[in-house]
Amino acid sequence: MDFAVFLVQCLNALQYGLLLFLVASGLTLIFGILGVINLAHGSFYMIGAYLAYALAPWASEQFGGGFFTAIAIGIVLSVVFGYLLEWGFVSYLYQREHLQQVLMTYGLILVFEELRSILVGDDVHGVAPPAWLAGSVQLGSVMTYPIYRLFMSGVCVLVALGLYLVIARTRIGMAIRAGASNREMVQSLGVDIRLLYRIVFAAGVALAVFAGMLAAPVSSVYPGMGNQVLIISFVVVVIGGIGSIRGALLASLLVGLVDTFGKVLIPQTAGILVYVLMAAILLWRPEGLFRAG
């Protein structure tokens, strides 16, 4: 493998892994703190991508700025949506068995997919990145790399850093860490657990929606795009350990590397390698690399 090709693949792996982290970190927090297995998490990613597609033309007409205005509006909408969904739906799942949570959130996926089909249709759409990010940089003598993908990786790193700072340095972050270790104890210490749950859920939704919006120019926008991300995010959570942000980051990068280089080096086994990785980790550490608590 030529060095430039290797570099391009490394960048691809990094970008994919970091994007996965945005989805998986919300998923792992919702598992770890709310104790809810949320199958509809992939739908938020899908909703994000469709939001980017639907909002970008409208936003540029109304406010100018196009893509980034759309992202800003999308984040606000997703926080409100996540907050309302926790209040109106997810909060009824806390006392229920895992199986019931699985089925109710599975029902939610069907509802979201069909609403998407009714509102936007089933066609594949492209989303244009902002003009100043549309070009490519030269790598070596023949290879080029799209600037937008570099930008994505950069933004994801910033979000990951921000998430780390919030969780490690703030009061609410402390409550989140404590909640991931021992829910009942946090409750009995007087933390408003309902509010904490609502904030964590809304943040998880916002992260997934943001990931979807960010990915829209690269992956384009298509039906069922959330399901694939959901299952890979499950793999990430299993590898990283439930409730662990650090585990989610490491596992996302690992999955990104294995998937990207697997597709280049052994294309026949493209889709399978990630699951083989998961099986290997399960043999070694059934509770994942870092389990919170």
Binding site: Q95, M104, G107, L108, V238, Y275
Partner: protein, 335 residues
């Protein structure tokens, strides 16, 4: 007299089951071709749901990857059948069942190292891996799937005992398979093995303290469930004469769990009833006569129905009488 009470309850349990078998037996003579065909599909799904009931209802293991074993057996059936002549059921069915049981042995051995939420996610992930094996690998025909050109027969010398190409023969073979699987699982439930599984569901810690090594019991249940799902997969492949990766997609695993909860978890009757209810709901929502152009979006009412059913009757249709007697919606504690 305790003896009398047991007798009565046994009669009360078996009468509806026998009545259902008789009704299914005479159905081909009263139902139209379309409905007979639909009933075959329903019975195949019922076998599939029964196999998962052993895990979810009996042992308390929520597997979200059960479609893998259904699909692996279906693919095995299609891939092993010769192109131009009929295969013999005598080897094709055991081969498909053994292959799905072996897959269950491998996946179960790894998945059962985990529990709770992890187990749900891991079984889902392994099923997705099986999906990609058939989706990406050339031998299985990729996303286009594979055809099964000649349906298998059971013949001794020149005499053909069973020709699954004949619809009526296939109907009664499926009914027989359903009865056998039901009876087998009922027998398992009464056996020492079945009691051990029930003990694991109730309190695994205590079972271990009582000296049971629970892992082999859970693995045996997982393999048996995989093998029985294989029976359903075999019948499915023969019925349609076509397999594609979608039959092992995760929607299929979700659907079969849905059947269990519709019917009511914890009873064999619930699993069969759930499969029947699911087919009725699906046909209803897909009916253009009722919903017109909206029938295209049948998954919307289905999704809402799932949410409503789980919220309002968590014990399914078979649990409904008891629930109504108590007069409130029970909220079971997280397990």
């Amino acid at each position: 007299m305790p003896d009398n009470a047991t007798k009565e309850s046994t009669a009360a349990r078996t009468t509806p089951v026998l009545a259902a078998v008789v009704l299914l037996g005479i159905f081909p003579f009263v139902g139209g071709k379309f409905y007979v065909d639909l009933m075959v599909t329903t019975m195949i799904l019922a076998i599939f749901a029964l196999s998962l009931e052993l895990l979810v209802g009996r042992t308390g293991l929520v597997s979200f990857g059960h479609a893998a074993f259904f699909g692996i057996a279906a693919y095995a059936t299609a891939l092993l059948s010769p192109q131009n002549e009929a295969a013999s059921i005598a080897w094709l069915l055991p081969a498909a069942v053994v292959i799905s049981a072996l897959a269950a042995l491998g996946i179960g051995a790894l998945s059962l190292r985990t529990r709770g939420i992890y187990f749900i996610m891991v079984t889902l992930a392994f099923a997705q891996m099986a999906y990609f094996v058939f989706h990406d690998m050339k031998f299985a025909g990729g996303s286009d799937g594979r055809y099964l050109y000649v349906k298998p027969v059971l013949a001794i010398g020149p005499y053909t005992l069973l020709d699954l190409d004949r619809p009526l023969t296939f109907y009664y073979s499926t009914l027989a398979a359903l009865v056998v699987v039901y009876a087998l699982l009922a027998a398992v439930g009464r056996s020492r093995f079945g009691h051990a599984l029930a003990g694991i569901k109730a309190n695994e810690q205590r079972m271990r303290a009582a000296g049971f090594s629970t892992y082999p019991y859970k693995l045996a249940a997982f393999v048996l469930a995989g093998a029985l799902a294989g029976v359903a997969g075999f019948l499915y492949a023969v019925k349609d004469g076509f397999v594609n990766p979608e039959i092992l997609a995760w929607h299929q695993s979700g659907t079969v769990l849905l059947m269990l909860i519709l019917g009511g978890i914890g009873s064999l009757r619930g699993a069969v009833l759930g499969a029947f209810l699911f087919v009725v709901l699906k046909e209803l929502f897909q009916s253009e006569a009722l919903f017109g152009g909206f029938a295209r979006h049948w998954q919307l009412p289905l999704g809402l129905t799932i949410i409503a059913c789980v919220a309002l009757m968590p014990n399914g249709v078979t649990g409904l009488p008891a629930q109504l007697r108590r007069g409130r919606v029970p909220v079971p504690h997280a397990g």
